[in-house]
């Protein structure tokens, strides 16, 4: 075992009751008790099903986590990603001792501070000053520690003016800043953070991310970070684990983890690469589409695409009619379904559109054109530059990941889907 391991999780499982808790607990308790008396195993632990919220419940119990194993090294920032209900929060709750596991153990070295919410326990009637002391104490700081960092906390929160104002007069954003500020000056060996950055303005998010980076890089402290914001996971974490239905499906390099999550997490038929069978409806008397895919140029399908990769879209199809143009057009849409732009072969005179046979059309979109977000793609087949003969809506969905982001940049959800890096020129005239 590695010497610098600060957290070791062994066969960790957590069983939850489904349905309304409280009804029938007494009878279950009695059942358990009798089973124990007869020296048998807990009758209810046998029937837990996997944690997949889309499947109808078959038993009364569900494994929110099942046989989780991982280790975290000192100074590492570990991202934990997964869909809603995948077990992320349960895992954090177990590590931060809020509830205890059903099976397995967690071992840790050093003080753990968990930030599952900012400003926990703050009282609206008390002033900011009093609340800093209260919240700090709840998070495990001593009065002395808080006192020595008080000015820094106030400065970080940016609320010097309101130190002696009751918290209830604060805006919700200010409360969050105050809460995070206290937590930021905790000096635990292990910090657990759960999506607290989803609130606060851009400036504050930047500050918060920067602070967390400081914590891990300068102090050699360890951070566990749960977020749905892939940009912040990528910029903060060195390694990530992907949780799905209570199991770890990926554990390793953050890029791969993000990709595994983004592609694996999507149910249904939207993916980055698709092959079609001959007899499907993606075929008519003019054309039959064999496959369509989007990938980073020089990489394979399924590998992560970053902002600074060239993006290649490849369509393979069989042209069934001769002597008529069959042109391919793709339309790119943003996550909300807004049409962004289209690219088609129709503008070219000399492209292989005349004869029948298996054809491949591809187009390359330059690097640093897309922003890091999610895109959908429509495929349109046009006959003789006039008539649309086939249209596939949302045939592909793909994610562009951010490149390694410098700290100065806003980490929040990107609003603009395109962020082309076109050249400027300056001349003295």
């Amino acid at each position: 075992m590695n010497k610098n391991t600060v957290i070791q999780v062994n066969n960790l499982s957590k069983l939850y009751r489904l349905g309304e808790i409280g009804t029938g607990t007494l009878s279950h308790d009695l059942n358990r008790f009798f089973a124990k008396l007869r020296g048998k195993e807990d009758p209810y632990s046998l029937v837990g099903q996997t944690n997949d919220r889309t499947v109808a419940a078959e038993s009364d119990y569900v494994w929110a986590l099942k046989d989780i194993n991982f280790e975290v090294q000192q100074g590492e920032v570990l991202g934990i990603i997964g869909k809603n209900g995948a077990g992320k929060s349960t895992l954090l709750k177990l590590i931060s001792q809020i509830t205890s596991p059903t099976e397995g153990t967690i071992k840790a070295k050093g003080r753990i501070a968990s930030l599952l919410e900012v400003g926990t326990g703050m009282h609206p009637e008390m002033t900011a000053r009093e609340n800093i002391f209260l919240n700090g104490a709840i998070l495990g700081m001593t009065k002395k520690e808080i006192k020595s960092k008080f000015n820094e906390i106030i400065e970080f929160a940016g609320c010097q003016m309101y130190v002696d104002t009751p918290l209830k007069r604060f805006s919700s954003g200010m409360r969050v800043r105050l809460g995070f500020a206290v937590a930021a000056f905790l000096e635990p060996e292990i910090l657990i953070v759960d999506e607290v950055l989803a609130v606060g303005d851009a400036e504050f998010q930047k500050k918060a991310i920067g602070k967390m980076k400081d914590i891990s890089s300068s102090g050699g402290r360890t951070v566990l970070f749960v977020s749905h914001n892939m940009a912040s996971v990528k910029s903060l974490c060195s390694r990530a684990i992907v949780l799905e239905n209570g199991n770890i499906t990926y554990n390793g390099d953050v890029d791969r983890a993000l990709h595994s999550y983004l592609t694996h997490g999507v149910k249904g038929n939207i993916l980055e690469y698709k092959e079609f069978m001959e007899d499907e409806f993606r075929s008519n008397e003019f054309v039959s589409i064999n496959s369509i895919g989007v990938k980073a140029k020089k990489k394979d399908y399924g590998e992560p695409m970053n902002v600074d990769d060239e993006v290649e879209i490849v369509i393979k199809f069989y042209k069934k009619i001769a002597n008529q143009r069959i042109d391919t057009t793709i339309q790119i849409k943003d996550e909300a379904g807004n049409y962004l732009f289209g690219l088609g072969t129709g503008v070219y005179e000399n492209i292989n559109v005349l004869y029948t046979g298996l054809k491949e059309h591809s187009v390359v979109i330059p690097a640093n054109f897309f922003n890091a977000t999610t895109f959908y793609l429509n495929l349109v087949i046009v006959q003789n530059r006039k008539k649309i003969v086939l249209r596939l809506h949302d045939v592909l969905k793909f994610d562009i990941l951010p490149k390694n982001i410098s700290l100065g940049k806003f980490m929040g959800k990107t609003k603009v889907p395109l962020n082309p890096d076109f050249k400027w020129f300056g001349y003295d005239l």
């Binding site: 931060s96 809020i98 967690i106 071992k107 840790a108 009282h123 008390m126 209260l134 709840i138 001593t142």
Partner: protein
């Protein structure tokens, strides 16, 4: 795995019954004082009378008791001036019921904090005991004022050296409330029905305790049952100490002390067991 590996924290599915981390509790002593401060400071914020409310409540209750039990029902006070007799019962009983009620609410009232942050859960009930104690002392000053008034104006009061047992009496009062509160708070996380029982249970219990009547006024055949209630002995000892009118017995007090220690012990064990899992059931 290397056996000599040193872990600061090992989280296991089940903790032993007596596995209570006292050192950790001590580490969080600053949190305890912060909670006490919060309770005291925020109680009367934005009120005009502020801390004066600490006095108004027992005084009003006393006035009602003097009127209803003293003048209408004409229940004996063993020759002690009525205001003094009732006030002594009220402040002691208030402290007990505060300790009990607030401790019993620990899990249900703090589910939100407990769901987000770890700290030794016992801190919350302990802070309630301490903030209750502050309130008790303020009300005790009121009692002392009334006491001194009667002490110097009438001859009906004869205090005794038992006065020095006051800290023990307060400890027992708090301890019984604390212990039972812990037990009930643990049970209410699963069986919410108990919440309703607690509400009127404490009120009913007051009538089974010599708060508004002296023990001596109870017919002999019921005395055994009233004496089974450990709080009886505490209140009687208090009245003997200050007013010289109680029905003090050393055996009774020892019984009450043992009772207190056992209830605290049981309460902490049950609480310790519940706190590991309660987030899943509350």
């Amino acid at each position: 795995m290397n056996k000599s590996e040193k872990w600061d924290l090992i989280i296991k599915p089940k903790r032993g019954l007596l596995d209570i981390n006292l050192k950790q509790l001590y580490d969080y002593k600053d949190l305890l004082t912060m909670f006490v401060k919060r309770d005291v400071v925020t109680l009367y914020k934005q009120t005009i009378l502020g801390p004066i409310w600490f006095f108004v409540q027992p005084l009003m209750t006393m006035a009602i008791y003097v009127f209803v039990f003293g003048n209408i029902a004409k229940i004996s006070t063993d020759g002690v001036p009525q205001p003094l007799f009732y006030l002594s019962g009220i402040i002691l009983w208030n402290y007990f019921s505060e300790c009990f009620n607030k401790t019993a609410d620990t899990f249900t009232q703090n589910a939100n904090i407990f769901g987000k942050v770890f700290f030794p859960r016992l801190i919350i009930p302990l802070s309630k005991i301490l903030s209750g104690l502050i309130k008790f002392f303020i009300q005790f000053l009121l009692f002392l004022a009334v006491f001194l008034y009667y002490y110097f104006t009438t001859n009906s009061i004869s205090s005794s050296l038992l006065l020095f047992s006051l800290p023990v009496l307060i400890f027992m009062m708090a301890g019984i409330g604390f212990g039972f509160g812990l037990i009930f708070s643990s049970l209410t996380t699963k069986y919410k029905d108990l919440k309703f029982l607690i509400q009127f249970g404490v009120q009913l219990l007051m009538y089974a305790t010599p708060v508004i009547y002296p023990l001596s006024s109870i017919p002999a055949k019921y005395q055994f049952w009233i004496k089974l209630n450990p709080i009886t002995h505490i209140i009687e000892a208090f009245k003997t100490a200050f007013l010289g009118s109680g029905h003090f017995s050393m055996y009774g007090l020892i019984y009450a002390l043992l009772f207190t220690l056992i209830v605290i012990f049981l309460g902490i064990i049950i609480f310790n067991k519940t706190e590991q899992k309660f987030m899943d059931t509350v």
